[in-house]
Symmetry: C2
């Protein structure tokens, strides 16, 4: 038995255990093939990856050095005895190997895989192996079974209402913060929209990151229920509510790999929405040359898969195919996006028209779920609720109910304008590239960092005219963003 | 710019960089999506994964904490300035994504992938993604192109001789240390056999681990050439000679995943052999229910793929399909295997007959490559060289030329006999299970640890009679092995 020593090292998602090379419980070199051990204390058992310390001051022979995520998850105090043993390979890896060799997995096999993923029994490599094996082919029935396993992996909210609506975008379009406009419109109409959203993993902002500029978002389930009870809506971060936790693990591997198959997208989104208690859902599916979905054929395939799985899970769904040819709105990054959202809600004349139009269209489709509303009235009703100020009022109520934002909503003071190199017109804007520049600039960690777009697709420009402005807080990050923008600004300009 | 601080932490294969949360060069939280940075110093550039320190005593805001493998590979001293920047995703990942989506990759794409893997630009997840995408399908031409890329990734030995022979087993059978008998037989006949071999990754011993009980194996290229010049043979660890280094990275991910497709096996083995300068090669391909190749169909497919790729690389090859129904020899683990090898070379009456017969058969096939030898004389000639003591004499010469072993060849003193639970006869021995028990017992790190088989397939046993003996050095490891053996001993006994 070793004694727990907490190491002030943050290994982020991964459970890492530091053992002395002279450890009395097991010799860590032995594990160099798989490096995985089981850590038991406090009635809990977790899997961890080993690294070896060669300095007794860091970790001694009778100590187990627990890095922060592992220490937190194990929940035992320093000095407590802990049992370390070589991990047995999870039995469900056999199913992953079968999948690699072309098998179709049934619900029981997928339940076992998802169960082991949630308890961190899989290494990142093993998760990647599962994802890539699934990426090569997956039947609609497998996608459905995977979605069910993911729902069962965590908590499930219920709302005791026949109509619980939501709106979700498949992602990939910078800006595009329509949820923060759709939710208050829909709630102002009287439908229940308890929105849980995610933080960015590889993008410059998630809905939760932008909402956090306006209000507190890390609400517990009880707090969330109180807000929804008062306002008919909330816009919170889903991280404290434990909905489809398998999804959090899977996307944390998927995103850095840049692999986003239709099957994984459907399982990820629908597992979260069903677990959150949604009954009616509008999905925003942007199509464009630098979007996740590149053309109409892909969009059709994805729409059908959403419908197949969604219907079997009892969801009523509308898939909105939207224009994904460029970012939506002007700002990219939490503070900039929140500014655009405010401008739209306040009906300001300088509000980005594309964000406004798209939010109205999507809100209109959500409102059509209301059986009381005459068919085809959704968009008009959405526009009325926005123009009358009812949506803005509702948003203020939601913000007040969730509590004050922990962030100072200040725009990054370091600025740099990326300019056109020649006269011409803008043929296209690369969503991935603009997203990367905003991310490098510091978004979403620095809420005030990001990109503010000045020109759009179809605009004409003169040499030297600004295309967009980079905002930064940290000089080093700002430098990385500027260098990336200078190398490839992400605007295709046709010379005239 | 940060200053290098060496951290006495061994992260094994992985380059890990520890930065303070308050780091002045870049904020490490920012990278949580991919966690990859480029580390530049000393004219070198390496990729590394970040973890975050929350203790200035460990790593300060102006320091870069380099864990051991990274510190060694970068080759710069403590206090030297180092430049850290977010890593750009390697461009070759586009090819990996194409492969995931079903594309066939050409030589240029595979060269780029392999090149980035060798420079550690890929994370383990990304390597797994490439491997699994390839596992789903790979054409023979892709396998050939991958093998060529892997050969080009490292050094290549040349021997100025028309006939440079080798013998290689695809692995998976515990014991089976025929190379240590075949090489001296073949060299005693006069053929050149400069053997480079590997250490175990997930198995209880590699050829290099067992040879190390008898002689030094970590020879430089010059030292290896001197030994081959004197003896016509060597049996060294390939790690210092930089042959197909991409293979070392790929198998370090493949093995823990337990994925070993025909295509990866062929690329791995043939890239090493061609890089080592072999012209004529015998491949030992064991077939059995717990071997890597399960049946005759799989064996045929693998044989054809070896032939397709090997011929295009100019190799003359013989594929020997052998009995892989149980371990070969009695000992499993370096000291125990070395004992068996000695017994065979010294023609001792208690030498394991299966190891002896197999080594003679394989050596015979290698000797048939000699144009001077009348066809069909190979096996007889091999037996002569073994029985006359010529092979033993040659082995002594090789051992002397390579230098003394750094290990004490002492058998582990902790022993435990695994016994039959009932009277019956032994229907089968599970190679994977026996290998796991030997590995848990401490092999190959503890050279004296492992498993000594007492019964074989087809033998009859009485309840309480020993099936095998576990040897251990470290009490904790010994306990893990004993528990695993008690849970499932790996012997199928049919009750009589």
């Amino acid at each position: 038995m070793l004694k727990i020593k907490a190491l002030p090292v943050d290994t982020l998602r991964e459970n890492v255990l530091v053992l002395s090379r002279d450890c009395v419980a097991l010799r860590p070199e032995r594990l160099s093939g798989s490096r995985k051990v089981e850590v038991r204390a406090n009635g809990r058992s977790l899997f961890a990856t080993i690294v070896i310390a060669d300095d007794a001051a860091l970790v001694g022979a009778t100590e187990a050095g627990l890095t922060m995520p592992l220490f937190r998850r194990l929940g035992a105090a320093e000095g407590v005895e802990v049992d370390i043993a070589p991990a047995r390979p999870p039995a469900s890896l056999d199913a992953v190997r079968d999948k690699i060799h072309g098998a179709t997995l049934d619900g029981a096999a997928l339940d076992a895989v998802v169960g082991d993923i949630v308890t961190h029994a899989y290494s990142d490599m093993e998760i990647a192996a599962f994802l890539i094996a699934c990426a090569s082919f997956m039947t609609p029935d497998e996608t459905l079974a995977l979605t069910r396993s993911m729902i069962a992996s965590g908590s499930r909210l219920t709302w005791q209402r026949p109509l619980v609506v939501d709106k979700h975008c498949i992602g990939g379009i910078p800006g595009n913060r329509t949820s923060l406009i759709v939710a208050p419109i829909v709630a102002a109409h009287g439908l229940l929209i308890p929105k849980t959203s995610s933080r960015a993993i590889t993008s410059p902002a998630g809905t939760a990151d932008t909402m956090e500029v306006l209000a507190r978002v890390d609400l517990s389930e009880d707090e969330m229920r109180a807000v929804v009870g008062r306002c008919g809506a909330c816009i919170v971060w889903g991280g404290r509510v434990d909905l489809s936790p398998a999804d959090d693990v899977l996307i944390s591997v998927e995103r850095p790999l840049g692999v986003d198959t239709p099957e994984q997208m459907v399982a990820s989104i629908l597992s979260k929405k069903v677990a959150a208690g949604s009954t009616h859902l509008v999905i925003d599916l942007p199509v464009g040359p630098s979007a996740k979905v590149r053309d109409a054929d892909q969009a059709l395939h994805l729409r059908k898969l959403f419908e197949f799985v969604g219907r079997r899970l009892g969801l009523v769904m509308e898939i909105a195919i939207t224009d994904g040819e460029q970012p939506i709105g002007r700002g990219i990054g939490p503070v900039l996006e929140a500014r655009d959202v405010r401008a739209v809600l306040e009906n300001r004349p300088d509000a980005p028209f594309d964000l406004r139009d798209k939010a109205i269209a999507l809100a209109g489709r959500v409102l059509e779920f209301d059986p009381e509303l005459p068919g085809g009235r959704g968009v008009d009703r959405a526009r009325e609720l926005l123009e009358s100020g009812a949506a803005a009022q509702k948003m203020d109520a939601i913000i007040e109910a969730q509590g004050p934002s922990p962030c100072a909503p200040v725009l990054g003071r370091l600025t740099y304008e990326v300019t056109a190199r020649a006269d011409g017109w803008i043929e296209g804007v690369d969503c991935a590239r603009i997203g990367r520049v905003a991310r490098l600039a510091g978004a979403p960690t620095d809420v005030g960092a990001g990109v503010d777009l000045i020109k759009r697709k179809g605009d004409s420009v003169r040499a030297g005219e600004p295309l967009y402005r980079i905002h930064g807080v940290d000089p080093a990050d700002f430098g990385f963003a500027r260098d990336a923008a200078n190398e490839d600004p992400g605007f295709r300009v046709i010379r005239t």
